[in-house]
Symmetry: C2
Subunit: 223 residues, 2 copies
Protein backbone atom coordinates (compact mmCIF):
# COMPACT_ATOMS: atom_id res chain seq x y z
CA UNK A 1 0.00 0.00 0.00
CA UNK A 2 2.89 2.34 0.68
CA UNK A 3 5.37 0.84 -1.72
CA UNK A 4 4.77 2.80 -4.83
CA UNK A 5 3.41 5.88 -3.19
CA UNK A 6 6.26 8.01 -4.39
CA UNK A 7 4.62 11.37 -4.04
CA UNK A 8 6.93 14.12 -5.13
CA UNK A 9 7.16 16.84 -2.53
CA UNK A 10 9.93 18.71 -4.26
CA UNK A 11 9.18 21.03 -7.17
CA UNK A 12 5.80 21.81 -5.67
CA UNK A 13 4.25 25.06 -6.85
CA UNK A 14 3.60 26.15 -3.28
CA UNK A 15 -0.16 26.18 -3.28
CA UNK A 16 -1.70 23.44 -1.13
CA UNK A 17 -5.05 23.37 -2.91
CA UNK A 18 -4.29 22.44 -6.50
CA UNK A 19 -0.56 21.92 -6.43
CA UNK A 20 -0.19 19.14 -8.96
CA UNK A 21 1.09 19.57 -12.45
CA UNK A 22 -0.25 17.39 -15.24
CA UNK A 23 2.73 15.06 -15.09
CA UNK A 24 2.54 14.66 -11.34
CA UNK A 25 -1.12 13.79 -11.43
CA UNK A 26 -0.45 11.29 -14.17
CA UNK A 27 2.32 9.63 -12.22
CA UNK A 28 0.10 9.42 -9.17
CA UNK A 29 -2.66 7.75 -11.15
CA UNK A 30 -0.18 5.23 -12.52
CA UNK A 31 0.87 4.39 -8.98
CA UNK A 32 -2.74 3.97 -8.00
CA UNK A 33 -3.28 1.51 -10.84
CA UNK A 34 -0.14 -0.41 -9.96
CA UNK A 35 -1.13 -0.70 -6.33
CA UNK A 36 -4.59 -1.91 -7.28
CA UNK A 37 -3.16 -4.38 -9.78
CA UNK A 38 -0.69 -5.66 -7.22
CA UNK A 39 -3.51 -6.50 -4.84
CA UNK A 40 -5.37 -8.37 -7.57
CA UNK A 41 -2.28 -10.20 -8.73
CA UNK A 42 -1.40 -11.30 -5.20
CA UNK A 43 -4.60 -13.17 -4.68
CA UNK A 44 -5.35 -14.34 -8.20
CA UNK A 45 -2.04 -14.45 -10.03
CA UNK A 46 -0.95 -12.50 -13.09
CA UNK A 47 -3.13 -14.51 -15.41
CA UNK A 48 -5.94 -15.12 -12.98
CA UNK A 49 -6.66 -11.47 -12.25
CA UNK A 50 -8.79 -9.80 -14.90
CA UNK A 51 -8.54 -6.27 -16.16
CA UNK A 52 -12.09 -5.70 -14.94
CA UNK A 53 -11.01 -6.64 -11.43
CA UNK A 54 -8.02 -4.35 -11.63
CA UNK A 55 -10.24 -1.55 -12.89
CA UNK A 56 -12.65 -2.11 -10.01
CA UNK A 57 -9.79 -2.09 -7.49
CA UNK A 58 -8.37 1.10 -8.98
CA UNK A 59 -11.86 2.60 -9.14
CA UNK A 60 -11.72 3.50 -12.79
CA UNK A 61 -13.16 2.30 -16.07
CA UNK A 62 -11.24 0.16 -18.57
CA UNK A 63 -11.22 3.06 -20.98
CA UNK A 64 -9.50 5.27 -18.46
CA UNK A 65 -7.04 2.64 -17.34
CA UNK A 66 -5.90 1.98 -20.89
CA UNK A 67 -4.84 5.61 -21.17
CA UNK A 68 -2.09 4.82 -18.66
CA UNK A 69 -0.99 1.33 -19.59
CA UNK A 70 -1.25 -0.05 -23.12
CA UNK A 71 -1.85 -3.61 -21.96
CA UNK A 72 -2.05 -5.94 -19.00
CA UNK A 73 1.45 -7.10 -19.75
CA UNK A 74 2.69 -3.54 -19.39
CA UNK A 75 1.24 -3.36 -15.88
CA UNK A 76 2.89 -6.64 -14.97
CA UNK A 77 6.16 -5.35 -16.36
CA UNK A 78 5.95 -2.10 -14.44
CA UNK A 79 5.14 -3.87 -11.18
CA UNK A 80 7.94 -6.34 -11.66
CA UNK A 81 10.42 -3.60 -12.36
CA UNK A 82 9.36 -1.58 -9.32
CA UNK A 83 9.44 -4.61 -7.04
CA UNK A 84 12.79 -5.90 -8.24
CA UNK A 85 14.55 -2.56 -8.13
CA UNK A 86 13.16 -1.97 -4.68
CA UNK A 87 14.65 -5.26 -3.57
CA UNK A 88 17.96 -4.41 -5.18
CA UNK A 89 17.98 -1.10 -3.34
CA UNK A 90 18.04 -2.85 0.02
CA UNK A 91 21.28 -4.58 -0.82
CA UNK A 92 22.99 -1.42 -1.92
CA UNK A 93 23.31 -0.28 1.70
CA UNK A 94 25.30 -3.40 2.43
CA UNK A 95 28.26 -2.29 0.38
CA UNK A 96 28.96 0.61 2.71
CA UNK A 97 29.53 -1.57 5.74
CA UNK A 98 33.24 -2.30 6.15
CA UNK A 99 32.57 -5.50 8.08
CA UNK A 100 31.59 -8.02 5.46
CA UNK A 101 29.73 -10.46 7.71
CA UNK A 102 27.85 -7.70 9.50
CA UNK A 103 27.01 -5.98 6.25
CA UNK A 104 25.68 -9.15 4.75
CA UNK A 105 23.63 -10.22 7.72
CA UNK A 106 22.17 -6.75 8.20
CA UNK A 107 21.14 -6.46 4.57
CA UNK A 108 19.70 -9.96 4.46
CA UNK A 109 17.72 -9.36 7.63
CA UNK A 110 16.42 -6.09 6.22
CA UNK A 111 15.33 -8.04 3.19
CA UNK A 112 13.54 -10.67 5.25
CA UNK A 113 11.89 -8.02 7.39
CA UNK A 114 10.78 -6.01 4.38
CA UNK A 115 9.32 -9.07 2.68
CA UNK A 116 7.39 -9.90 5.80
CA UNK A 117 6.10 -6.41 6.50
CA UNK A 118 5.14 -5.54 2.95
CA UNK A 119 3.49 -8.92 2.45
CA UNK A 120 5.25 -9.12 -0.89
CA UNK A 121 6.34 -12.73 -0.58
CA UNK A 122 3.58 -14.07 -2.76
CA UNK A 123 4.00 -11.29 -5.30
CA UNK A 124 7.66 -12.18 -5.50
CA UNK A 125 6.83 -15.85 -5.97
CA UNK A 126 4.42 -14.93 -8.72
CA UNK A 127 7.09 -12.82 -10.41
CA UNK A 128 9.56 -15.65 -10.15
CA UNK A 129 7.12 -18.13 -11.66
CA UNK A 130 6.32 -15.73 -14.48
CA UNK A 131 10.02 -15.15 -15.13
CA UNK A 132 10.39 -18.84 -15.89
CA UNK A 133 8.33 -18.49 -19.05
CA UNK A 134 8.09 -14.78 -19.87
CA UNK A 135 11.35 -13.57 -21.31
CA UNK A 136 10.69 -9.88 -20.70
CA UNK A 137 10.05 -10.51 -17.02
CA UNK A 138 13.08 -12.75 -16.82
CA UNK A 139 15.26 -9.99 -18.23
CA UNK A 140 13.94 -7.53 -15.66
CA UNK A 141 14.75 -9.95 -12.85
CA UNK A 142 18.16 -10.72 -14.25
CA UNK A 143 18.95 -7.08 -14.65
CA UNK A 144 18.04 -6.28 -11.05
CA UNK A 145 19.81 -9.28 -9.62
CA UNK A 146 22.77 -8.80 -11.93
CA UNK A 147 23.36 -5.37 -10.45
CA UNK A 148 23.16 -6.75 -6.95
CA UNK A 149 25.44 -9.62 -7.83
CA UNK A 150 28.05 -7.36 -9.40
CA UNK A 151 28.12 -5.06 -6.40
CA UNK A 152 28.24 -8.07 -4.16
CA UNK A 153 31.10 -9.49 -6.13
CA UNK A 154 33.19 -6.33 -5.88
CA UNK A 155 32.39 -6.11 -2.19
CA UNK A 156 33.54 -9.65 -1.44
CA UNK A 157 36.52 -9.49 -3.78
CA UNK A 158 37.74 -6.41 -1.93
CA UNK A 159 37.48 -8.25 1.36
CA UNK A 160 39.36 -11.21 -0.09
CA UNK A 161 42.13 -8.97 -1.38
CA UNK A 162 42.44 -7.37 2.02
CA UNK A 163 42.70 -10.81 3.56
CA UNK A 164 39.57 -10.35 5.63
CA UNK A 165 37.73 -13.40 4.35
CA UNK A 166 38.58 -16.66 2.66
CA UNK A 167 35.41 -18.06 1.05
CA UNK A 168 35.01 -21.83 1.01
CA UNK A 169 34.18 -21.89 -2.71
CA UNK A 170 35.05 -19.49 -5.49
CA UNK A 171 32.98 -16.35 -5.89
CA UNK A 172 31.42 -17.23 -9.23
CA UNK A 173 29.82 -20.25 -7.63
CA UNK A 174 29.09 -18.68 -4.29
CA UNK A 175 27.19 -15.62 -5.44
CA UNK A 176 24.37 -17.43 -7.24
CA UNK A 177 24.06 -19.77 -4.29
CA UNK A 178 23.79 -16.93 -1.80
CA UNK A 179 21.12 -15.29 -3.92
CA UNK A 180 19.28 -18.59 -4.25
CA UNK A 181 19.32 -19.09 -0.50
CA UNK A 182 18.06 -15.56 -0.01
CA UNK A 183 15.20 -16.20 -2.41
CA UNK A 184 14.21 -19.31 -0.52
CA UNK A 185 14.11 -17.40 2.74
CA UNK A 186 12.16 -14.57 1.10
CA UNK A 187 9.54 -16.77 -0.53
CA UNK A 188 8.82 -18.66 2.65
CA UNK A 189 8.29 -15.56 4.74
CA UNK A 190 9.51 -17.36 7.85
CA UNK A 191 8.37 -14.77 10.42
CA UNK A 192 4.79 -15.46 9.36
CA UNK A 193 5.36 -19.14 10.14
CA UNK A 194 6.37 -18.36 13.67
CA UNK A 195 10.12 -18.45 13.18
CA UNK A 196 11.50 -15.58 15.30
CA UNK A 197 13.73 -12.99 13.66
CA UNK A 198 16.40 -13.70 16.24
CA UNK A 199 16.69 -17.30 15.15
CA UNK A 200 16.87 -16.29 11.52
CA UNK A 201 19.64 -13.84 12.27
CA UNK A 202 21.60 -16.33 14.34
CA UNK A 203 21.42 -19.02 11.70
CA UNK A 204 22.24 -16.51 9.00
CA UNK A 205 25.32 -15.27 10.83
CA UNK A 206 26.58 -18.77 11.58
CA UNK A 207 26.05 -19.76 7.99
CA UNK A 208 27.68 -16.69 6.50
CA UNK A 209 30.70 -17.05 8.74
CA UNK A 210 31.08 -20.65 7.69
CA UNK A 211 30.85 -19.71 4.02
CA UNK A 212 33.08 -16.65 4.04
CA UNK A 213 35.45 -17.67 6.83
CA UNK A 214 36.43 -14.26 8.19
CA UNK A 215 40.04 -13.98 9.31
CA UNK A 216 39.91 -11.23 11.85
CA UNK A 217 42.53 -12.91 13.99
CA UNK A 218 44.96 -15.69 13.23
CA UNK A 219 42.63 -18.64 13.61
CA UNK A 220 44.51 -21.74 12.55
CA UNK A 221 41.67 -24.20 12.34
CA UNK A 222 41.10 -25.40 8.80
CA UNK A 223 39.46 -28.61 7.74
Amino acid sequence: MTDLDTTFDDAGPGDADAPMTRGEKREQTMCRIMEAAKKCFVHAGFQGASMQQICAAAEMSPGALYRYFPSKEAIIGAITEADRSQDAEIFRTMFENPNVVDGFVTAAMAHVRHMHESGNASLFTEIRAESMRNEAIDLTCQSAMGTVQQGFRDYLQGAIDRGEIEPCVELDAMLPMIIAIGEGLAINDLPSKGVPLDSIETLMRVTVEAMLRPRKRANANDN
Copy 2:
Protein backbone atom coordinates in the same frame (compact mmCIF):
# COMPACT_ATOMS: atom_id res chain seq x y z
CA MET B 1 9.03 -36.98 -19.07
CA THR B 2 9.87 -39.97 -16.91
CA ASP B 3 8.44 -38.70 -13.68
CA LEU B 4 4.97 -40.07 -13.77
CA ASP B 5 5.65 -43.02 -16.01
CA THR B 6 4.94 -45.44 -13.25
CA THR B 7 4.12 -48.41 -15.40
CA PHE B 8 3.14 -51.33 -13.28
CA ASP B 9 5.11 -54.42 -14.24
CA ASP B 10 3.79 -56.50 -11.41
CA ALA B 11 0.41 -58.20 -11.66
CA GLY B 12 0.86 -58.55 -15.41
CA PRO B 13 -1.37 -61.23 -16.98
CA GLY B 14 1.59 -62.73 -18.86
CA ASP B 15 0.58 -62.02 -22.42
CA ALA B 16 2.68 -59.32 -24.10
CA ASP B 17 0.17 -58.36 -26.74
CA ALA B 18 -2.94 -57.20 -24.87
CA PRO B 19 -1.86 -57.59 -21.27
CA MET B 20 -3.63 -54.67 -19.71
CA THR B 21 -6.67 -54.82 -17.51
CA ARG B 22 -9.22 -52.07 -17.66
CA GLY B 23 -7.85 -50.38 -14.55
CA GLU B 24 -4.27 -50.50 -15.76
CA LYS B 25 -5.13 -48.92 -19.06
CA ARG B 26 -7.05 -46.25 -17.28
CA GLU B 27 -4.14 -45.45 -15.00
CA GLN B 28 -1.81 -45.29 -17.97
CA THR B 29 -4.07 -42.86 -19.77
CA MET B 30 -4.22 -40.68 -16.68
CA CYS B 31 -0.43 -40.59 -16.59
CA ARG B 32 -0.36 -39.65 -20.25
CA ILE B 33 -2.69 -36.76 -19.57
CA MET B 34 -0.67 -35.62 -16.59
CA GLU B 35 2.57 -35.71 -18.54
CA ALA B 36 1.00 -33.73 -21.36
CA ALA B 37 -0.49 -31.24 -18.93
CA LYS B 38 2.83 -30.85 -17.15
CA LYS B 39 4.52 -29.85 -20.39
CA CYS B 40 1.83 -27.28 -21.09
CA PHE B 41 1.90 -25.92 -17.56
CA VAL B 42 5.67 -25.57 -17.58
CA HIS B 43 5.71 -23.21 -20.49
CA ALA B 44 2.43 -21.39 -20.01
CA GLY B 45 1.59 -21.67 -16.32
CA PHE B 46 -1.41 -23.29 -14.70
CA GLN B 47 -3.75 -20.56 -15.79
CA GLY B 48 -2.08 -19.81 -19.09
CA ALA B 49 -2.32 -23.32 -20.49
CA SER B 50 -5.70 -24.12 -21.99
CA MET B 51 -7.54 -27.42 -21.90
CA GLN B 52 -7.43 -27.47 -25.69
CA GLN B 53 -3.63 -27.31 -25.57
CA ILE B 54 -3.51 -30.08 -23.00
CA CYS B 55 -5.85 -32.17 -25.14
CA ALA B 56 -3.64 -31.61 -28.16
CA ALA B 57 -0.52 -32.55 -26.22
CA ALA B 58 -2.20 -35.67 -24.86
CA GLU B 59 -3.58 -36.44 -28.33
CA MET B 60 -7.15 -36.79 -27.26
CA SER B 61 -10.40 -34.88 -27.49
CA PRO B 62 -11.84 -32.77 -24.66
CA GLY B 63 -14.70 -35.23 -24.37
CA ALA B 64 -12.29 -38.08 -23.77
CA LEU B 65 -10.08 -36.16 -21.39
CA TYR B 66 -12.98 -35.18 -19.20
CA ARG B 67 -13.69 -38.87 -18.63
CA TYR B 68 -10.45 -39.01 -16.64
CA PHE B 69 -10.33 -35.69 -14.85
CA PRO B 70 -13.45 -33.76 -13.88
CA SER B 71 -11.78 -30.36 -14.26
CA LYS B 72 -8.58 -28.52 -14.97
CA GLU B 73 -8.16 -27.96 -11.27
CA ALA B 74 -8.22 -31.72 -10.72
CA ILE B 75 -5.31 -32.15 -13.14
CA ILE B 76 -3.36 -29.42 -11.36
CA GLY B 77 -4.09 -31.09 -8.05
CA ALA B 78 -2.97 -34.50 -9.26
CA ILE B 79 0.24 -33.13 -10.72
CA THR B 80 1.00 -31.21 -7.57
CA GLU B 81 0.43 -34.24 -5.42
CA ALA B 82 2.63 -36.44 -7.57
CA ASP B 83 5.40 -33.86 -7.71
CA ARG B 84 5.38 -33.10 -4.02
CA SER B 85 5.28 -36.70 -2.86
CA GLN B 86 8.08 -37.50 -5.26
CA ASP B 87 10.15 -34.77 -3.68
CA ALA B 88 9.31 -36.01 -0.22
CA GLU B 89 10.41 -39.50 -1.21
CA ILE B 90 13.95 -38.30 -1.87
CA PHE B 91 14.32 -37.14 1.69
CA ARG B 92 13.09 -40.39 3.15
CA THR B 93 16.37 -42.07 2.23
CA MET B 94 18.20 -39.56 4.38
CA PHE B 95 16.78 -40.91 7.60
CA GLU B 96 18.60 -44.21 7.15
CA ASN B 97 22.03 -42.65 7.14
CA PRO B 98 23.54 -42.74 10.65
CA ASN B 99 25.82 -39.78 9.95
CA VAL B 100 23.59 -36.76 10.13
CA VAL B 101 25.69 -34.36 8.10
CA ASP B 102 26.37 -36.92 5.39
CA GLY B 103 22.76 -37.96 5.28
CA PHE B 104 21.61 -34.41 4.94
CA VAL B 105 24.11 -33.39 2.29
CA THR B 106 23.51 -36.53 0.26
CA ALA B 107 19.74 -36.09 0.29
CA ALA B 108 19.97 -32.40 -0.52
CA MET B 109 22.33 -33.06 -3.40
CA ALA B 110 20.03 -35.78 -4.72
CA HIS B 111 17.26 -33.22 -4.59
CA VAL B 112 19.28 -30.61 -6.48
CA ARG B 113 20.36 -33.17 -9.05
CA HIS B 114 16.84 -34.45 -9.53
CA MET B 115 15.45 -30.95 -9.98
CA HIS B 116 18.08 -30.24 -12.58
CA GLU B 117 17.72 -33.46 -14.53
CA SER B 118 13.95 -33.59 -14.56
CA GLY B 119 13.71 -29.94 -15.48
CA ASN B 120 11.06 -29.59 -12.81
CA ALA B 121 12.34 -26.34 -11.34
CA SER B 122 9.81 -24.20 -13.15
CA LEU B 123 6.97 -26.60 -12.41
CA PHE B 124 7.91 -26.40 -8.77
CA THR B 125 7.97 -22.62 -8.88
CA GLU B 126 4.56 -22.64 -10.51
CA ILE B 127 3.23 -24.96 -7.81
CA ARG B 128 4.67 -22.72 -5.13
CA ALA B 129 3.10 -19.62 -6.64
CA GLU B 130 -0.23 -21.37 -6.94
CA SER B 131 -0.01 -22.56 -3.34
CA MET B 132 0.11 -18.94 -2.22
CA ARG B 133 -3.48 -18.41 -3.31
CA ASN B 134 -5.06 -21.83 -3.84
CA GLU B 135 -5.83 -23.41 -0.52
CA ALA B 136 -6.15 -26.95 -1.86
CA ILE B 137 -2.71 -26.76 -3.44
CA ASP B 138 -1.31 -25.22 -0.29
CA LEU B 139 -2.65 -28.11 1.76
CA THR B 140 -1.03 -30.62 -0.57
CA CYS B 141 2.31 -28.85 -0.25
CA GLN B 142 2.01 -28.55 3.49
CA SER B 143 1.11 -32.18 3.83
CA ALA B 144 4.11 -33.33 1.81
CA MET B 145 6.52 -30.96 3.52
CA GLY B 146 5.00 -31.69 6.91
CA THR B 147 5.85 -35.35 6.53
CA VAL B 148 9.41 -34.49 5.54
CA GLN B 149 9.71 -32.03 8.37
CA GLN B 150 8.46 -34.50 10.96
CA GLY B 151 10.87 -37.20 9.81
CA PHE B 152 13.61 -34.63 9.73
CA ARG B 153 12.76 -33.53 13.23
CA ASP B 154 12.92 -37.03 14.66
CA TYR B 155 16.16 -37.64 12.81
CA LEU B 156 17.86 -34.55 14.20
CA GLN B 157 16.39 -34.94 17.67
CA GLY B 158 17.85 -38.44 17.83
CA ALA B 159 21.26 -37.09 16.91
CA ILE B 160 20.94 -34.38 19.54
CA ASP B 161 19.99 -36.90 22.20
CA ARG B 162 22.98 -39.01 21.26
CA GLY B 163 25.18 -35.95 21.58
CA GLU B 164 26.24 -36.09 17.95
CA ILE B 165 25.16 -32.60 17.04
CA GLU B 166 24.44 -29.34 18.80
CA PRO B 167 22.34 -27.13 16.49
CA CYS B 168 22.96 -23.40 16.67
CA VAL B 169 19.24 -22.59 16.98
CA GLU B 170 16.36 -24.68 18.25
CA LEU B 171 14.83 -27.26 15.95
CA ASP B 172 11.44 -25.61 15.59
CA ALA B 173 13.12 -22.60 14.04
CA MET B 174 15.79 -24.47 12.16
CA LEU B 175 13.62 -26.91 10.24
CA PRO B 176 11.54 -24.33 8.35
CA MET B 177 14.72 -22.44 7.54
CA ILE B 178 16.44 -25.51 6.17
CA ILE B 179 13.44 -26.28 4.01
CA ALA B 180 13.29 -22.66 2.85
CA ILE B 181 16.96 -22.74 1.88
CA GLY B 182 16.39 -25.99 0.03
CA GLU B 183 13.54 -24.45 -1.90
CA GLY B 184 15.68 -21.52 -2.93
CA LEU B 185 18.36 -23.83 -4.23
CA ALA B 186 15.76 -25.94 -6.02
CA ILE B 187 13.97 -23.07 -7.71
CA ASN B 188 17.16 -21.56 -9.03
CA ASP B 189 18.41 -24.77 -10.61
CA LEU B 190 22.00 -23.73 -10.06
CA PRO B 191 23.64 -26.39 -12.24
CA SER B 192 21.87 -24.87 -15.24
CA LYS B 193 23.47 -21.54 -14.37
CA GLY B 194 26.92 -23.01 -14.54
CA VAL B 195 27.43 -23.59 -10.84
CA PRO B 196 29.24 -26.94 -10.56
CA LEU B 197 27.73 -29.64 -8.38
CA ASP B 198 31.01 -29.86 -6.48
CA SER B 199 30.74 -26.26 -5.37
CA ILE B 200 27.16 -26.74 -4.29
CA GLU B 201 28.09 -29.78 -2.26
CA THR B 202 31.06 -28.05 -0.62
CA LEU B 203 29.03 -25.03 0.36
CA MET B 204 26.18 -27.20 1.55
CA ARG B 205 28.48 -29.28 3.75
CA VAL B 206 30.20 -26.27 5.22
CA THR B 207 26.84 -24.66 5.90
CA VAL B 208 25.25 -27.74 7.42
CA GLU B 209 28.22 -28.32 9.69
CA ALA B 210 28.03 -24.76 10.88
CA MET B 211 24.30 -25.07 11.57
CA LEU B 212 24.31 -28.48 13.22
CA ARG B 213 27.77 -28.36 14.80
CA PRO B 214 28.62 -32.07 14.82
CA ARG B 215 30.60 -33.25 17.85
CA LYS B 216 32.35 -36.33 16.56
CA ARG B 217 35.49 -35.58 18.52
CA ALA B 218 36.13 -33.19 21.35
CA ASN B 219 36.56 -30.04 19.30
CA ALA B 220 36.96 -27.18 21.71
CA ASN B 221 36.58 -24.31 19.32
CA ASP B 222 33.44 -22.37 20.06
CA ASN B 223 32.79 -18.81 19.19
